[in-house]
Symmetry: C2
Subunit: 372 residues, 2 copies
């Protein structure tokens, strides 16, 4: 995979790079908004573009169930279907192994899911997950992994990591045996597991490097551990990973967690926080979070954040958006979503600027101070 | 009110005119999308603009309850609040007299409503409804009226019409005693009642003309009568009304009903059909209605209507919008809404063109043929 590092901050591991895909280049560190079923909830591709979104994430499990492979193939892949023409990364379904507690069985061969739509049973093997992502046509596909909540017993984390490693090997064989269906390149990332145990994380990294991937994701974090543990494991992993590969911290996170992890040398992020929080009426500003539904906002003629350049802040008052939430108007969900996505994109853009100036640590400290 | 008729089709009563407000001129016949609580559901003002919306309708009853008068006054009226800078017409609350069967009492003085939000009681008098619309700052305000479902007994329709007329007189006195709060002109329309009885309709028109309004609405239709009766009453009213005033047929309607009523000399329309149907997954095309959820559409790569110029049709396939509805993505509601509003705007624009060429009747016949 074409990934180049332009600059590493001289005071920490934060780095600015460039990820090249056939759907465009991505400046890293990058945050990917989540469109689980192919759509970043409430938003159009044009709106994502206006928010300066570079890359979106979608989900193999969700897309496999709906619209399903037949439709995706018929349309020539997800880009043609959802009309997002930038890069797309697809998660593998591994997170559902973790989150759909009641709806799965894990075997040596793979994972049996029950559809959350209709209860129908489906077996995901490492090979099948590659095949599905070939049909989806994501620019970056993830291997099927097995994660456990944190903290898990050492033996539990070990079993999950070793299973993940075996699956990773099968996944890469399948990846090499198959090819892109739509004429552009696809890349494959491995996923590091091992829970909160450095020894297991190291074993996982060594195993994945031996197999060889286009990039490496730190999985199995943001699933119950405290921030200090997450930072320690992240730091440990980025120490052990060669510098030349892109590093993706899956499912992270809140703005402060993203910023903290950038310092530790992470290049890629995804999380539902900006979109889900937006739909719940929580928006991010440079003075902290705001709950739109708070009655105090009902007469505010200023935008959510007077310093923000998003379409919501350029056009609407906080008072009006408060009203939209009080009367359940969908436009409210849209505006809060747009604002939060823009906030994340601007934050990452500012972070990249700070790194290029070797000022990431003061930038981080100033930002964290605003989080209360 | 500045209303001019540019041309009347030489083969029927259909006419093209121009309505001047301080928020811009409106080419008539015009269809106003409904934003009951200040917002056309799911859509932004910019999107309405792209759909060529000229004027929107909002609702006194809804706005009075939420956000309430204090907020509207604080913001300087609805235009400043919702950021729609074109003309706004506000209905009076009269329709709620009809539709909120369980939540009202009608007195000589006015109507007592119970809020559908919290059950709190509110009295709307003709004077108060004028005052509220001063605070809303709508370009055109409607008088408080009393309508009954069709068919109603003659005596019931007579009582309602006579009450409406008494209220209209009080409303116009209040209108003259007060003035616009925000520096631009407001106009007031009377509402003709009288159910399905020409004799009562005539009495109503005479009474309203004697009082004198900027325009005249035909109320009390599209509330249970068949299309033939509606057309007869509409035809009767437009015959009795002087040509020089704008004529507004309230709550109509389906595309075919709008087209039929244009032939009878109506200038203004509003209805929830395009927006509500859109959210339910029903979209209009020049080949008839389509139910987006229909499984047959799942592989369709063409847009909803290949001949349509709306943002939904320019950017997305019917197959993708079908998927959005199947997985409950809000973007689906947005795209169907935009499509239907654009369809109505284009239909009215085509109707105006046809009238100017004295070709309205063949235009209507060709259109009705596509409705099955």
């Amino acid at each position: 995979m074409e990934f180049s590092i332009n600059h590493t901050d001289k005071n920490c591991k934060a780095r600015v790079g460039r990820l090249k895909t056939d759907h465009g280049e991505v400046a890293t560190p990058v945050f990917m908004p989540v469109g689980s079923i192919g759509t970043v909830k409430t938003a159009s591709p044009a709106e994502l573009g206006k928010c300066q979104v570079q890359m979106m994430l979608s989900n193999t499990y969700h897309l496999y169930l709906r619209p399903g492979l037949e439709i995706l193939k018929e349309f020539g892949g997800l880009h043609q279907f959802n009309r997002w023409d930038g890069p797309i990364l697809t998660d593998s379904g591994g997170f559902q192994v973790y989150s759909l507690e009641e709806l799965k069985n894990i075997y040596e061969d793979g994972v049996e899911f029950k559809s959350h739509w209709d209860g129908s049973a489906h077996l995901f093997t490492p090979e099948k997950v590659v095949d599905i992502q070939r049909v989806i046509g994501s620019d970056i596909m993830m291997v099927l992994d097995y994660l456990t909540g944190n903290p898990s017993e050492f033996e539990v984390a070990q079993t999950a990591h070793r299973q993940t490693l075996k699956w990773a090997e099968r996944a890469t064989i399948q990846f090499q045996k198959t090819k892109s269906l739509y004429g552009y390149r696809q890349f494959q990332f491995g996923i590091i597991q091992g829970g909160i145990y450095p020894q297991l994380r190291e074993e996982s990294i060594k195993g994945l490097l031996l197999i060889g991937f286009d990039g490496y994701a730190i999985g199995g974090l943001a699933v119950g551990e405290d921030a200090e543990t997450r930072n320690q494991i992240t730091d440990f992993c980025t120490e052990k990973l060669p510098e030349v590969f892109p590093r993706y911290l899956m499912g992270v996170g809140k703005p402060e967690d993203v910023i903290q992890s950038i310092q530790l040398g992470v290049d890629m992020f995804d999380c539902v926080v900006p979109t889900r929080n937006g739909r719940n009426g929580t928006v991010f500003t440079h003075h902290g979070k705001i709950n739109i539904r708070n009655t105090a906002h009902k007469t505010v003629k200023d935008p959510i954040d007077p310093n923000c350049g998003c379409e919501a802040c350029l056009n609407f008052s906080l008072g009006y958006i408060h009203h939209l939430f009080k009367v359940n108007e969908i436009l409210g969900l849209r505006l809060a979503t747009i604002h939060n996505i823009y906030f994340y994109m601007k934050l990452l853009s500012d972070a990249r600027d700070a790194i290029l100036r070797d000022q990431f640590i003061p930038f981080k400290n100033a930002f964290l101070k605003t989080r209360g």
